[in-house]
């Protein structure tokens, strides 16, 4: 339904889709300008950083496409329209995820995909079945991890209806962080995204394997392949949090 609604204004749709792509491409322009002044950042070359940029944007973009509508939840709790969703005989999460489904958000996916393609064409990767598999798993698990952040953030919005922006710092802020090599960040921050909010498993750790780079973080070697486990655990935790939030929700009555 929302697909048809957005296509009703075709010109507007294309303008916003292209606009979204251009806006998210600004981050890459910044990276490109930085590389006008240096050949490596944190020991990583431009194609290697482009790999991080592409995978970060692609997974965030896919998650945003699937469940990104959830970040409007605080607004819906405030105006009471979330009640309508809850009385319908269908899963609230699926309904809210599909609500205002916006294909224009695909702009980020396409743009990040192009940068990733460019990075792969420039990188001298010795393609084995293992590397290809890890890359595919990266895209799927990265999307699940970012999607879980959206769900957990939405659960949080049941309690703090005004605090949608905190979620942005983990989703968009996290994606921004993952665009750069882990080597440039302070050790504590890296530890936070390995053991706290497990964003390092979206692309940093699998990238070490795909690009054949040494681990300067001093983490166990099997962490590079642990993304599916982490994605599963995080998705379960986010699901439980969502159910707990839904159960404790008291309507405003309006």
């Amino acid at each position: 339904m929302w697909l048809r609604a957005s296509m009703a204004y075709r010109t507007s749709f294309w303008i916003t889709a292209v606009g979204n792509a251009v806006t998210s491409a600004l981050d890459f322009v910044v990276i490109a300008i930085m590389f006008l002044h240096t050949t490596a950042l944190g020991g990583w070359t431009l194609p290697q950083v482009a790999f991080l940029y592409g995978t970060s944007g692609l997974t965030l973009g896919l998650a945003d496409l699937l469940v990104g509508s959830l970040d409007q939840l605080g607004q819906r709790v405030r105006d009471g329209s979330v009640d309508v969703v809850l009385v319908r005989p269908a899963a609230a999460l699926a309904q809210l995820g599909a609500d205002r489904f916006a294909l224009r958000r695909a702009g980020r996916v396409v743009q990040s995909g192009l940068i990733l393609g460019w990075a792969l064409s420039r990188l001298p990767i010795d393609w084995t079945a293992g590397r290809l598999l890890v890359l595919l798993v990266l895209v799927v698990c990265g999307t699940v991890i970012f999607g879980s952040v959206f769900v957990a953030g939405a659960a949080f919005q049941f309690f703090a209806t005004d605090a949608a922006e905190v979620q942005n710092s983990v989703t968009y802020g996290g994606a921004t962080m993952l665009q750069y090599p882990p080597t440039i960040y302070a050790r504590d921050l890296v530890r936070g995204v390995v053991f706290g909010v497990p964003l390092a498993f979206v692309n940093w750790l699998p990238a070490l394997y795909v690009l054949g780079l040494p681990d300067t973080l001093g983490l166990p070697g099997w962490f590079r392949f642990a993304s599916p486990l982490v994605a599963l655990a995080f998705a379960t935790a986010a699901g439980l949090l969502w159910r707990a939030a839904l159960r404790s929700y008291r309507s405003t009555g309006s």
């Binding site: 606009g19 300008i33 930085m34 002044h37 005004d162 440039i184």
Partner: protein, 301 residues
């Protein structure tokens, strides 16, 4: 029956007033009105405490990420673009502090104005005996003042605690001069930003859906203001061009005034550039506003 609002408004050039006493009185009451509008707007934004905290938190988190990338770059290339490491880090944190006050990503009165144009409520505004541009500017300045105090101060404090930042220095007179020129430059920058957002919203009269223009304005605002990277790092042709466009006044010029990279003649020329753009944009805004008002058709009922 439908008619244009422009017909209903008093003729624009006002006849010279023979009684200067009454004129002074009118000026006083006008300034009282605009102050009241600005204060109301300040209080309105101050109501959303949780949103303010959430936004400040986000600005601070982004400040950390960007500061680390800058540090990585400046450790390889010290003095890049004329900034040393601590000046570059100050640039990041001050940039986060200025993002909301100057609304480099759009928003503020733009949201309200767009909503009123789309819903048609704007027709009521046009009947009010008050200058539209002045009314919305006062409202945006109130918002900017609140955002400066709430979302500006805290990221700068956190950044100052975790990184070595550069505050204005020199003798007392020099510090006072730098701070006051910085605040003046910021005020001019907010006004430039307001004029751009105001005209972007007014395009809604013609385009009906202002989202596309809004996106264009956002890209230009982020890129050409120096918010993402200091403009001196851009390829030289672009750097020269961007430094003369109005957007430079939103982030780049206030930052350079704060970092005391603009002193003496270049300080004056920076402020003069901002002032010139304010005048040009105010004039352009008036023309767009008049054309927009002439286009309004009120559905009588």
């Amino acid at each position: 029956m439908s008619r244009t609002v422009a017909e209903a408004r008093p003729p624009d050039p006002e006849p010279p007033d023979p009684d200067p006493g009454r004129r002074r009185h009118e000026l006083r009451s006008a300034s009282r009105l605009y102050t009241a509008v600005a204060r109301g707007s300040f209080r309105r934004y101050a109501t959303y405490r949780a949103a303010t905290w959430a936004g400040t938190f986000t600005n601070t988190v982004f400040g950390f990420f960007i500061a680390y990338t800058y540090r990585a770059l400046w450790e390889i290339r010290p003095h890049l673009g004329g900034y040393d490491l601590s000046a570059a880090l100050t640039y990041v944190w001050l940039g986060q502090a200025l993002l909301m006050p100057v609304a480099a990503m759009g928003g503020g009165v733009q949201d309200d104005l767009e909503a009123r144009i789309v819903s048609g409520d704007i027709a009521v505004d046009l009947y009010r005996p008050v200058d539209q541009q002045g009314w919305w500017l006062a409202s945006d300045l109130g918002r900017a003042a609140y955002h400066l105090l709430s979302r500006g101060v805290l990221p700068l404090l956190v950044g100052g605690l975790c990184f070595h930042l550069r505050m204005p220095s020199g003798g007392l007179a020099e510090e006072v001069l730098t701070w006051s020129c910085f605040l003046l430059s910021l005020l001019l920058g907010i006004t430039v930003s307001f004029m751009i957002r105001y005209m972007t919203a007014l395009t809604g009269f013609w385009l009906l859906d202002p989202r596309g223009m809004r996106q264009v304005a956002l890209v230009l605002g982020m890129f050409c203001s120096g918010f993402l990277l200091p403009l001196t790092l851009f390829p030289s042709g672009l750097a020269t061009l961007f430094q003369r466009l109005p957007w430079a006044g939103m982030v780049q010029i206030p930052e350079d005034v704060f970092l005391q990279r603009r002193t003496g003649g270049s300080l004056l020329s920076g402020l003069a550039l901002q002032l010139a753009w304010v005048l040009v944009l105010v004039l352009a805004g008036r023309l767009v506003q008049r054309a927009a008002a002439a286009k309004v058709v009120v559905q009588g009922g």
